[in-house]
Structure formats: structure tokens, C-alpha cells
């Protein structure tokens, strides 16, 4: 068996106000998998994401990325390996130009000059945004900003792409275009989403996080078909979808 890209064991975390967000999360993601993380609001999805690259530190439990323990001494390498795309591209794109923004991550890794330039072009090419390189982020459409946000983490050549609500606020064509790009990347992915059809379209495997625990883990289609499991976790397919027809 290969080394898991993500190997989380018994993660427990409480916020400073005492609210427990994770109460023993176990999750393995293997290279090449695309996994959807489903669950109601407040289930701890974003908290889990912030543990993957060491922004939050668990009270107990361990987490390894490609075999490397998430700990202070490896943070630079961990953050290279885990590429997180945040929900609001305006939070992710903070530099005055697209070029500077995509260069930010690899520059922090020490790349310079031609090597850095090549990395920026490679990442923008992968999402089809190469011609926007000298634009300023606030002049891009929302869908374009989301694609550039993905490029900013691709530029670090991560081992896993973690996406927080990738389809949020996109129009239908934008959703489809993003799905095409994500499929073409052919990477290990963890996708936090409320958009169940999107999870079904992109992720063969899904886990349900609720009350700070993984309560279900299996093929996405089977999880979405399980009416009782879905109802117990405040998950519903949108109007017009018939679970038995999936």
C-alpha cells in the first residue's frame, strides 16, 4: 500500500472559547483520490482543513502529509505539500497583480528569476488563465478569480489540493468550467462542499463530517442514496434530484 497523502488519526480540537470543533477525526486519503467532505454548517469542516497545513494545531491526535508529520519544524514543507484554496478568492488574492500573487507561494519557497517565472506560467496555464497574468485581481470576474486562486497554490506544486466550497457563488457555466479544470489537473483532492451534485460529479469518494467526527465514508453515490444517513446529517439533494435514480 502506498504512503497516504493525508493520514489523520484521532484529531481533537477546541476553539479558545471552549467550543469543541473536532472530537476524534480519522481520515486517510491516498494518492490520486478525489474525496468530498460533506456535512452541515458547524460540523468542523473548515477546522479540519486548517489542520491539514498546520495553521491550527490539534490538542491530541496526529496528522501526516505524505508521511511527514505536521509539526512546527516541517511547516514550510507541509504548506508546500498542502495547497488550500479558500472560499473567497478576495481573501486568497492579496497582491496587486495576478503575476505577483501566483509568485507569492513559490517565492516563499525560495524560487527566483526564470525558475519562478516558469512556475507562474505553468500554474496559470493549468487553469487557462495565462493571458490574465498582468491584470489586477479586482478586475477579473468572480470565476476567473477562483481559477487564479487555484493557480496560486498549484504554483507550489502541492501533493494535495484542498478546496473549500469551490463551486460557491459561481454561475452554472462557471461551475462546469471549474469542474473541467479540476478534472484536468489529475491531482489528489479534498473538496469541502455543500454542493452535493458537484461532489458526485467530481469525487468518487465522500466522507460525512458531523459533530466533529467522520460519521460516514464510502462511494459518493452510495452515500447520497442513503436517505436515512443523509437526513441524520442535515444533508439534502437539491429539488428535482431523485436519490434512487443516482
Amino acid at each position: 500500500m502506498s504512503v497516504p497523502t493525508v493520514e489523520a488519526t484521532g484529531l481533537v480540537f477546541s476553539y479558545p472559547d471552549g467550543r469543541r470543533a473536532l472530537s476524534g477525526v480519522d481520515l486517510h486519503v491516498h494518492p490520486g483520490e478525489r474525496v468530498a467532505v460533506l456535512g452541515p454548517n458547524g460540523a468542523g469542516k473548515t477546522t479540519l482543513v486548517l489542520h491539514l497545513n498546520g495553521i491550527l494545531t490539534p490538542e491530541s491526535g496526529t496528522i501526516r502529509i505524505g508521511g511527514l508529520q505536521v509539526a512546527k519544524e516541517h511547516l514550510v514543507e507541509i504548506r508546500r505539500r498542502v495547497g488550500i484554496v479558500f472560499q473567497d478568492p478576495d481573501d486568497q488574492l492579496f497582491m496587486p497583480t495576478v503575476r505577483a500573487d501566483v509568485a507569492f507561494g513559490p517565492a516563499n519557497l525560495g524560487l527566483r528569476d526564470e525558475e519562478l517565472d516558469a512556475r507562474v506560467h505553468e500554474a496559470l496555464d493549468a487553469v487557462g488563465m495565462a493571458d490574465r497574468i498582468d491584470r489586477t485581481p479586482h478586475h477579473l470576474s468572480f470565476g476567473e478569480r477562483r481559477l487564479v486562486a487555484i493557480a496560486t497554490v498549484l504554483a507550489m506544486r502541492p501533493e494535495i489540493l484542498v478546496l473549500d466550497e469551490p463551486s460557491a457563488n459561481l454561475d452554472p457555466a462557471g461551475r462546469r468550467e471549474l469542474a473541467d479544470v479540476l478534472r484536468s489537473l489529475d491531482m489528489t483532492m479534498l473538496m469541502v462542499t455543500h454542493d452535493l451534485p458537484y461532489a458526485l460529479a467530481l469525487c468518487p469518494r465522500a466522507v460525512i463530517l458531523n459533530g466533529g467526527r467522520i460519521v460516514a465514508d464510502g462511494p459518493t453515490r452510495e452515500i447520497l442514496r442513503d436517505r436515512e444517513l443523509m437526513a441524520a446529517n442535515r444533508l439534502e439533494l437539491p429539488y428535482g434530484f431523485d436519490p434512487s435514480a443516482l
Partner: protein, 254 residues
């Protein structure tokens, strides 16, 4: 998106001034403004010479007079102050039409008017031929403190986002019938300002998370070390030297 106003000062073009490296333009503009400010106010010919230089630059950059004129309106609030000086100034007085004006006040007003207009014009030429990100690049190449350049960069990047949020809040207030007439009704505006502050603060925290997630470790990466071309520096030095020579000559001839 409420975009564009950050770039409203820029005028697209391909003139030599547009193509000049930003740090060269920044340095030359700064030196020019210093020379103008240092000039003795009695030397009218010197101000004429400065004006000729600036107008020459505007022609080179193909800036229409109307464009520059509208941008110059920015100095009106400052000039209003200057208008009062001849009336309130002390010392020797002179009669112009039916008004008794202070000679010292007239000189002070002229000094402000001439220097502010020249300084603003030079800045307009800079802003009209240099995009905002380029100005930031120029500042960092001139070795401006990194933290300051980074803060300016964030300001440029997020100004539109914050203004967009403010506009949405204003529309939400108006949609619920808010139309303040009395001072007592202004409370909602104060609350709006407070909310905007908190939202911006929270966004700052999220941006910081996103920066950390991409390996930020306390200092912005230094990306642009390339300097301007020697020819451009020479041209800019000539320009700054001309301004400095005018100023020096004006002092000597005084």
C-alpha cells in the same frame, strides 16, 4: 464590482514616458517637486521654466489639456486657504480695485498657488503614465521600506473590495427605507462604519491565513531587483538637473 477608480488616474498610452521604468519616473518626480518647492517665490521666470518643462512632459505623454485640468481640481481645497491670505495677512498693504490687500499675503498666496499647481501637475503626469502596481514596484526598487510597500499594496488591492462592501451596505440601508433627515438618524451610519471596520478586520485575518497557507513567514518575498535602464536614468537625471539648475540660478540672481 465597483472597479476602476484606482486606475482612474492612469491614461493608457505608449509614449516614451509610459515605457519608462517606474522607479526612474518616481525619483525624477520627487526631485522635480523638491526643486520647485525650494525655488524663491520672487523668481517668476523660474516658475515659467518649470511650467514649460511640465507642459513638455504632458505633450510627450500625449495627455489632453482637459484631462490634466480635471485632475488639477484636486488642489482647489488647498488653494481656498491661499485665497484668504491676501485679506488676512499683515504688514504693508496695497490697493487693488476696491480691496486693500496685504503684500505679504499676496506673495504667500502666489507661492502656494504656483508650487501646488506645479507639484500636482508633475504628480498627474506620473500617475497618468504609470499604473498603480508599477508605482509599487518602483518604490520597492528605490529601496522604500518593504513593510510600507506591502501595506500600500494591500491598500490598493482591497480599496475596491471595501468600497464594494460599503456600497452593498448602503443599498441595504436604503432598501429598508433609510433616508436620514435629522442628526439623530445618523446613528445607522455610525453603525455601518463600525460594521465595515469589523468586516475589514476579519478579512485581514482571513487574508493572513491565506498568506500563511502559502508559506508566508513574516516578510514579503523580494521579487523585483531589476533596475531601470541607464538611458532612462540619464534622461531622468537631465530632467531633474534642469529643474535643480533653474532653482539654483533663481537663488543666485535674487
Amino acid at each position: 464590482m465597483a472597479g476602476g477608480h484606482v486606475h482612474a488616474l492612469y491614461r493608457h498610452g505608449t509614449s516614451p514616458l509610459h515605457r519608462m521604468q517606474p522607479e526612474v519616473k518616481l525619483a525624477a518626480t520627487l526631485l522635480f517637486v523638491v526643486a520647485v518647492v525650494a525655488a524663491p517665490r520672487e523668481a517668476f521666470w523660474a516658475f515659467g521654466a518649470y511650467a514649460a518643462i511640465v507642459i513638455g512632459l504632458m505633450i510627450t505623454a500625449r495627455l489632453p489639456a482637459g484631462f490634466v485640468g480635471r485632475r488639477l481640481l484636486i488642489e482647489i481645497p488647498f488653494l481656498l486657504f491661499a485665497v484668504f491670505l491676501p485679506f488676512v495677512g499683515g504688514g504693508e498693504r496695497t490697493d487693488v480695485a476696491f480691496l486693500s490687500l496685504s503684500v505679504e499675503g499676496l506673495w504667500a498666496a502666489w507661492n502656494i498657488l504656483a508650487k501646488a499647481t506645479l507639484g500636482a501637475s508633475a504628480s498627474i503626469v506620473l500617475a497618468a503614465t504609470t499604473q498603480v502596481p508599477e508605482i509599487l514596484t518602483g518604490l520597492s526598487r528605490l529601496r522604500a521600506p518593504k513593510a510600507i510597500v506591502a501595506i500600500m499594496g494591500f491598500m490598493v488591492r482591497y480599496l475596491d473590495v471595501v468600497i464594494g462592501e460599503l456600497n452593498r451596505m448602503r443599498i441595504a440601508l436604503r432598501s429598508r427605507g433609510y433616508a436620514p433627515r435629522r442628526l439623530g438618524e445618523a446613528g445607522a451610519l455610525a453603525a455601518t462604519a463600525g460594521t465595515l471596520f469589523i468586516r475589514s478586520y476579519e478579512r485581514g485575518e482571513r487574508v493572513y491565513l491565506a498568506m500563511m497557507a502559502r508559506g508566508y513567514a513574516g516578510s514579503m518575498p523580494d521579487l523585483d531587483e531589476r533596475g531601470g535602464h541607464a538611458v532612462q536614468w540619464a534622461a531622468a537625471s537631465g530632467f531633474a538637473a534642469a529643474a535643480a539648475t533653474i532653482t539654483a540660478t533663481a537663488w543666485v540672481l535674487r
